[in-house]
Symmetry: C2
Subunit: 147 residues, 2 copies
């Protein structure tokens, strides 16, 4: 079994799409994360669901739990509406990290190790910069435990 | 809106359950992760789905992508069956990390920041060491984007 045998087609977002649109797509399609494409439709980044959420959390709250606690409840509930038309590109953190991207010949063990290491429940399968589809944690685990 | 308003009941596993049982539960119930309880039924740890998968990936492959690639395909497909009765406790990494645990009064912003920071799509809501339930990424995002 190789990555090519585990591929599913998932909807993608463009790097200049609004964050709110990305968040809605993830919820509506019940996706574990999102593949973000650049203008050439090549994967620009892959975001685990928690990192799509992160795009929508104000920076001043992300690393300071006490700040998020003291903000009054009404304001906290409104934070996603304050995003306006902020794009995914502008909301992305700068730090480089290993992307969960692999090729169609990757073994199941290789995909599993990549998912575990990058903490991403979605891996993009790419061949010569062309996106073939995604392997999701659910698809991989289902095949592994044989249910 | 507080954590208490977002709680869902999720199945849990015991820290001395076999890893394979934990993996099956996650797949069968389509959970984003697992809450692991100790003997007193207090949360011992919370594992995002990718870290449940990690329990099942041989240690020598986790941080060495080239090793996972060279292992022959037949063996790679069998790795989950080699787990035997390895328990969650024995498979857990030792390194301490911030757990995605909060109290019922946490604001939605606080839960969102915790999920983003710990990269966990599941947060345990605990009151005086008693598990009240879980807030999942899907529940939180659904409420936030209002679909």
């Amino acid at each position: 079994m190789r990555a090519r045998d585990l591929i599913t087609q998932v909807p993608t977002v463009m790097v200049d799409s609004p964050v709110i649109e990305a968040a809605r797509l993830m919820v509506e399609r019940d996706l574990p994360g999102l593949i973000v494409l650049d203008e050439r439709r090549t994967p620009f980044t892959i975001l685990p669901g928690t990192q799509v959420l992160r795009l929508a959390v104000p920076g001043y709250c992300q690393d300071d739990p006490t700040l998020a606690r003291v903000i009054d409840e009404a304001h906290a509930d409104e934070f996603i509406h304050a995003l306006g038309d902020l794009t995914v590109r502008r909301a992305l953190p700068d730090q480089p990290r290993e992307l969960p991207v692999t090729d169609p010949d990757a073994t199941v063990l290789e995909v599993a190790a990549l998912m575990a290491r990058t903490r991403s429940p979605i891996v993009a399968v790419v061949d010569s910069e062309r996106l073939l589809g995604a392997v999701t944690l659910n698809t991989l685990m289902t095949r592994l435990v044989g249910t």
